[in-house]
Symmetry: C2
Subunit: 348 residues, 2 copies
Amino acid sequence: MGKGRVTVIDIAKAAGVSKSTVSLVLQASPLVNESTRTKVNAVMRELGYVYNRGAANLRQANARSKIIGIVVNDLTNSFFAELAVGVDTVVQSAGFVQFLSNTSESIDRQREVIASMREHGVSGLIISPARGTEAVDLKPLVMAGIPVVLVVRNIPGAKVSSLVSDNHAGAFAAVEHLAALGHSRIAFVGGFPDTAVFDERLGGYRDAMSKTGTGFQDELVVSSAPSRAGGVDALARAMAMPEPPTAAVCFNDAVAFGVCDGLRARRIEPGKDFAVVGFDDVIEAKTTVPALTTISVDPQGIGQRAAQMLLKQINAGKPEAESAVSSVRLIVRESCGAAMNKPGRKMA
Amino acid sequence: MGKGRVTVIDIAKAAGVSKSTVSLVLQASPLVNESTRTKVNAVMRELGYVYNRGAANLRQANARSKIIGIVVNDLTNSFFAELAVGVDTVVQSAGFVQFLSNTSESIDRQREVIASMREHGVSGLIISPARGTEAVDLKPLVMAGIPVVLVVRNIPGAKVSSLVSDNHAGAFAAVEHLAALGHSRIAFVGGFPDTAVFDERLGGYRDAMSKTGTGFQDELVVSSAPSRAGGVDALARAMAMPEPPTAAVCFNDAVAFGVCDGLRARRIEPGKDFAVVGFDDVIEAKTTVPALTTISVDPQGIGQRAAQMLLKQINAGKPEAESAVSSVRLIVRESCGAAMNKPGRKMA
DNA sequence: GTTAATAATTGGAACGTTCCAACTTTGTCA
DNA sequence: TGACAAAGTTGGAACGTTCCAATTATTAAC
């Protein structure tokens, strides 16, 4: 047992047919007689045959393997986990298997991971690029004709498909909502300043601040790591200001949760004494207390849509780059104070 | 461009050497002259060569590809995301790449995913099996001599390595702690009853309840999906009892967060009016408010240790099944009320 | 100046599969 | 009976790599 692996030839010998016939059975070809097929299948099961995809791909250089790769920059952020399951639901029903790798924002790791996936002949790639990824990094992929869909973060020069959410509109809506509730000192909290997503959301915030007449003030944007801990930290800095804000538009939900934690630790009740709005609408957003008012980007939906874009490219002969913007909407829950009697302006 | 793919022979021609030499360069063999090496490497870059792992694996049937697979049953649970990054850190430094797949508790999907990984010649597998997985499902893997480490959930008859946390001891400690705080009506909340993990944790709970003299009562165990929403739901049922509990040992942290949400929705303050202890110690546990008292199982640590076990097996010729229990410890924070003046017994 | 040792390179066979063209068997029809 | 078609089956070549044994080029030793 277990000496050499079981090959198609072993099956052929044991079943008394030729390797070609076995191969036809493997491909469910209608050419082969029903009785032969069942016999061959039986022998396969008996000997514990495992299909060698590598050898097969070697022969048919055109047909790639039935896997699609998804590369994310931060798996511990549940946004990406949800995105991945969204992708999974659609690739699965198309007969693909999804392999996911995490880069932890490391460009080097990202290169390794993508190379590894290429070596295994993935049919296509969905990538949420690590910070600092440039168009050149994607060049080899497009040259090889491998379909790629960028999600979450777009990369300017790359000639690949992309699906990002409408960050500008989302942040704009968040500010408008808070302004309508009577806030004027609205902070923009969290996120790394050197990313496209940050720029877009900040842009929406800035435009809305200008439009609502309260004006944009530099000091009201306080950045941090885009995590729960980052939110705690950023809030501390915001509250240390001479004239602290009364509301915050957060870079994402993780930051928003951190902000709520930080508020509570200061005995300030989010949704009552201070308005918080997040960005992403992760699952916890609706069950947490207070329920988080946030900009819904529907990670699963984005995953599904990205997967559909990718499959379309895979099925079409030559991949046509297509870029889409996924619309977002404001979900009003409790953390902004809109559900309460008074807009939160108790502190000053 | 992109007609046929670039092969080792193309490189050889362009560089004016033989394919064997190119192959040696690929393997970083010391046999090849430094000047040839640099020239070959240059040509590779220029022509955009991609290593064909499939063809390589074909030849060297022994040496498997440098990927290890990790199969989890619920990616949306951040416990598994953290476990995966733990695994990643160690396999990465050993020169492997990790491919992760999610089964969403589906046995069928799990079979597909594992088959796919086998076809791609993974060097080893770390599996958190879907509910209902049986020893036979793993049989083909052990027959093929593929190293496997089971995590989180063990499977009785399977002859593979496993690494589970000491669920019995953890639940036991949680109950002891709550009892010491003065609670006697302590519920066991959340989790699916037909899993080994549930049985173990429940066992620890039961033994501790008996030992502390309050005795084990069936009605105090209320199961649910092991998620935040499940926790909300289970708490509702618990509080509807004629004599509701004053404390809860939760199946996991997600459930515990749900329980806290449910309590707050009822205007009961977790950590003050009701004691909650979780299980897992996910990252949010320490930043949330109130900080969650929980049993730390250190998912990253488990991931790392599992990865080490797997690598050991891969490096050893024949895999020796080894099973380990990862110890757990009680992390006292705020949600159990220990940090407050009074043990939470205000309600009755 | 020959031999021996070392360093570097090389062609061919092999890995497990698919594809193609050729082959055999069986059945149908004039 | 012979010609033809349809249904199954088959051997060999090819895919891109690595390994082996053999070869050539270079250096060292006498």
